[in-house]
Amino acid sequence: MWAPQLRKPAATFGLAWAIAFCVIGEPSEAATRRDPDWPCQQIKVPTISAAAIWSGPSLEGLPSWSADQDVADLVERLAARRTPIEDAQKLIDEFSDKAGSQKRARLLLVFAGVFEELNKQRDEVIGGLARVAHRQAASADQIRDENHDFLELRSKADSDPNKLKELGDKLDWDTRIFEDRNRSITYACEVPVLIEQRLFAIARMIEPKVE
């Protein structure tokens, strides 16, 4: 279990200083250009266009995919990331075998549905990343203030050691949370790309069957 009192304050001050002055310090040219809603290194691609992953028939003007229950069921399974991508081809083949005379049209609906659902999932992830980015910016502000208060108190000859320890521990704790969240963000930033990969893989499975 993590014990804040065991951490060396000096190390924390260093990190807190870095957060306060480097991460959110004087706005550099790069920082001012940075999208406040996007905490990732990856280039932000707000939406995936169908043209980027699909060169089959147009998805414009199709009937509702959710009106066909078999199509809707398959869309749900294909869009669920718990369905291994290796199983997706099997599911599509099975559907294709049983789809009847409207096979191509129904498979096109399947892709339209998967495209819509995975784009929706991706939007949610990107929205979540934006919320985390704002929370991190607020945390960095807070750590900067705490760091300022701590340094001010420490510079006084008659500072209360208990108060100093309390401020140090708080700074330590908040910095730790900030670091942990940053690590989580790094992983979460991969998710939009993982969804794009899945969508493209499914497009590749369906497209040859509807051409």
Partner: protein
Amino acid sequence: MQAQLIRRGRIRRWPPLLLSLALTLGATSSAFAYTAYVTNERDNTVSVVDLDKMQTVKTIQVGQRPRGIVISPDGKFLYICAGDDDIVQIVDTKSQQVVGDLPSGPDPELLALNKTGDLLYLSNENDALVTIIDVKERKALAQIPVGVEPEGMGVSPDGKIVVNTSETTNMAHFIDTDKRDVVANVLVDARPRYAEWKSDGSEVWVSAEVGGTVSVIDPVKHVVTKKITFSVPGLRSEAIQPVGIRFTKDGKLAFVALGPANRVAVVNAQTHEVEKYLLVGQRVWQLAFTPDQKYLISTNGVSNDISVIDVADLKVIKSVQVGSFPWGVAISPE
């Protein structure tokens, strides 16, 4: 006619039927027995892809962030830019192991060999330099200052000129390989990434990733004679980011990798008109032909695969999974 096979000092006669079978099989296997070597930027490996089986048959561990890759003309060695290790590694294609390195200078990204395979030209992205390396002696012969963030390297068919592109300066620098000096600079569009010469030396094409164009440059007059633009219905123009370029040997067709457009453009290299767009994989970076030019291979950085394009039919016939973030590709000469 019967053939003779000399084996262990004896002469054996092959029956005609067996001979024709052997020739047929031999011809088949030699036509497809190429190997593609693909650098995987994320997982620090090179995937070895058997283009007969169309599958990855081995993974070689190399240095950090491997990107640019070339193969020696005899097919014995691969030279790989391990950018984050600041070296070019030498891989023996027989043992499939790293057997040495070359003093590349910092952050090598792309490299090009001359025809004889004894001189290597590479760009040092962080130091605005082009380094020339004597491959046999494994030593740097010269470093030539160029523009900021140099990247693409293209050696002219006669070996006299190397064109280097600098991403930030937005120029193609023409380097005289004897003088080892820049003799001309040509302004192109934003973030030029790759330079490729036509086999007759009549044109150099430079792709601009942010500009979204390919500049056709007259290498004698050092002027841009044409800018090729690309347009895919339904795609925003900023999603079209030209990178790798390859010409067919007859100079009739060019193929241009279009990055996050996930497509390779087929361009008439004589009229400079785009004829077709082929949907390959996600984030297509670099291209390489098999030596018979039957196939063109593209590396797809996000879908973690390579696409195999049938050059005669202009169709994508296969995708082969490789490592994480495939970037560069080189193909064995036989």
